[in-house]
Amino acid sequence: MLKQTVKPQFLVLAFALLLLLSSTALAEKVSLTFYFPVAVGGPITKVIEGMTESFMKENPDIKITPVYAGIYRETLTKALTALKGGEPPHVAVLLSTDMYTLIDEDAVVPYDEILPAQEMGFVKDYYPGFMQNSQTGGKTWGIPFQRSTIVMYWNKEAFKEAGLDPNTPPKTWTEMLDFAKKLTKKDASGVVSQWGVAIPTTGYAYWLFQALAIENGIELMNPAGTEVYFNKPASVEALQFLVDLSRKYEVSPKGTIDWATTPKDFFERKTAIMWTTTGNLTNVRNNAKFDFGVGMLPANKRPGSPTGGGNFYIFKKATPAERKAAVQFVKWMTTAERAAQWGIDTGYVAVRPDAWETKLMKDYVQTFPYAAVARDQLQHAVAELSTHENQRVTKALDDAIQAAVNGTKTPAEALNEAQAEAERILRRYKR
């Protein structure tokens, strides 16, 4: 009798225990660390954290810890240092051009090794231009996220004051130089209060220089990332043009022009035209107290810009479950809707054509047509400079550019040295 009364209670208890066990099994979360850089102005960390939070709400079995890790270069340093220390992030946004470095370091795993072949179709959703720096040797190593091209911003009020049509940006180098001469404001003693044009030469000097080189009809490296063409005549001419802007024509500040403060120079009306990433678009829109325009970069022999920006990489050390979860996160972050929203929040190019077909994006472009400039420029875009030991090779080029704009070396001398240095570095990768 007593036994019979106990038994159901016992059953309930056992059942409850079972439920508890199974629910803990269900709730066993996959935890992912996610490193991301910030390369443009504006509240980017907040946007990223907001996105990961909504991801976790929709996917309660995955926990994402977003870690802001500095600019791109610092993020790579941090990720590789963590890798050598044995605890790399599971997923990170790093420059698309870091692909070879990450492969050489055996740091990342291609998406093809995580997903079965029939699920790899999704890579066709992204712009082929962005996939150029994301695939090599038939494998997909990165998924485009905060991708960009360089665009030209101009101050319409300054154009009006200088007697230029505020709605007609310069279309060629010659025109840009002409306009810049008119836009440079000097007082009687030669003190400049407004420069014509600013092309940054710190931070990503090689990237902006590459735009000039492309426009002058040359690509700086081969697709395998084992050869560079820094000292070809067309490259030297491109650097000469950049140097002449400040040293010969005096329409641009002397010395190096800082990447990070160039947008501020533009807001402060210290420069009438600036070249910077489209990723700064929303920053400029929110902070420029004047009417401004956004256009494709002016052409010389051809129009053009390198693509740029960051991809999602998945680190090799992750377990199969973590890798799967990471792919799920990456796919979620780059769906058409999300890509559109991210593009609107920042100015980065929404990385897939169907994002531009969403109502959200269509409405945005309707009210703010400049949002589409970088996308339209994609048809002229070229893969960003990317080689083995990319950091080292780009540093050689950065140093050369800085020496040239400082006048300590001629463009030809500087680029000859950079070429020799790059060849020395790349020797071991040539077969």
Binding site: L80, D106, V191, P253, K254, E268, Q402
Partner: protein
């Protein structure tokens, strides 16, 4: 053993290897890293920069620290406030400090430029010119160090028995003579201590470079330790990084031999 000798020996061994890529074992290359060091233009440039940096920051920060210590020790009105303001740079984190100085140096609308413009001079790109970038970095380091060293000098000055000052006054010595003949000789041991610290700092100071110049333009403001960071942690060329580290160790070793072996005998007033 584990914390001092093991890393040094390990660094020495690493300097004979070429870092293996992607977890591969390092390859023994003998003296190649050293041979490369000799022909590495950037190395010679940063070495020269570092010597300039040391020969400016060490005397300037010591002279400034001593002057400030005399000032705050002299019993002027508002000296608590003065001591605080001299010491503030020391307690601020270097990265924050560098950000403030970044604003001073910004071309076109930075503080320095606004002052110069007001006086009718045209713009200078302080951090973007090869000729000025290193000196801008030096100014920040001196500003930061001087306040710290002042504390040691202040402590040393307060150790001097007041009777010596009174005796000097009775003898009719001027304030200047008192400092030159009495105070400064008596604080020489402190000067040695500060000198050692200043030398170490000159080779160790690196954090503000991350914010101010990243070693640029064209390595004009790069220092040895920053270059070691770049080679070791940006390029992951750990073998060459180790070689450079040995050069740094060599410098610090020489400096300490000089300071403790030679100078120490001369500083104690007996």
């Amino acid at each position: 053993m584990a914390f001092t000798h093991y890393p040094a020996v390990n660094t020495f061994i690493s300097s004979f290897f070429l870092a293996g890529k992607g977890g591969a074992a390092p390859e023994f290359v003998g003296l190649e890293n050293y041979r490369f060091l000799l022909e590495d233009k950037i190395f010679w440039k940063v070495l020269k920069n570092n010597l300039v940096f040391a020969s400016c920051t060490i005397p300037l920060s010591i002279a400034l620290a001593m002057t400030m210590a005399f000032l705050v020790n002299a019993g002027l009105p508002g000296q608590a406030w003065l001591r605080l303001s001299y010491f503030v740079p020391t307690v601020l984190p270097m990265i924050a400090v560098a950000n403030i100085w970044l604003f001073f140096y910004t071309p076109e609308y930075g503080l320095l430029e606004q002052v110069r413009r007001f006086l009718g001079f045209s713009g200078v790109n302080w951090l973007g010119s090869e000729s000025t970038a290193l000196y801008c970095v030096i100014a920040v380091a001196v500003w930061k160090d001087a306040g710290f060293f002042m504390i040691f000098y202040l402590a040393a000055l307060q150790q001097i028995p007041p009777s010596l000052g009174e005796a000097a006054m009775v003898e009719g010595a001027s304030r200047f003579t008192y400092y030159r003949r009495v105070a400064i000789p008596l604080i020489m041991p402190t000067t040695l201590f500060v000198l050692v610290n200043a030398t170490i700092n000159a080779f160790r100071m690196v954090d503000h470079l991350f914010v101010l110049t990243q070693g640029g333009p064209n390595n004009a403001s790069s220092l040895l330790l920053y270059y070691i960071y770049e080679v070791s942690f940006k390029f992951w060329d750990t073998g060459y990084g180790a070689t450079l580290t040995l050069v740094l160790l060599l410098f610090l070793g020489l400096a300490s031999i000089l300071q403790f072996g030679v100078l120490e005998k001369k500083v104690h007033y007996r």
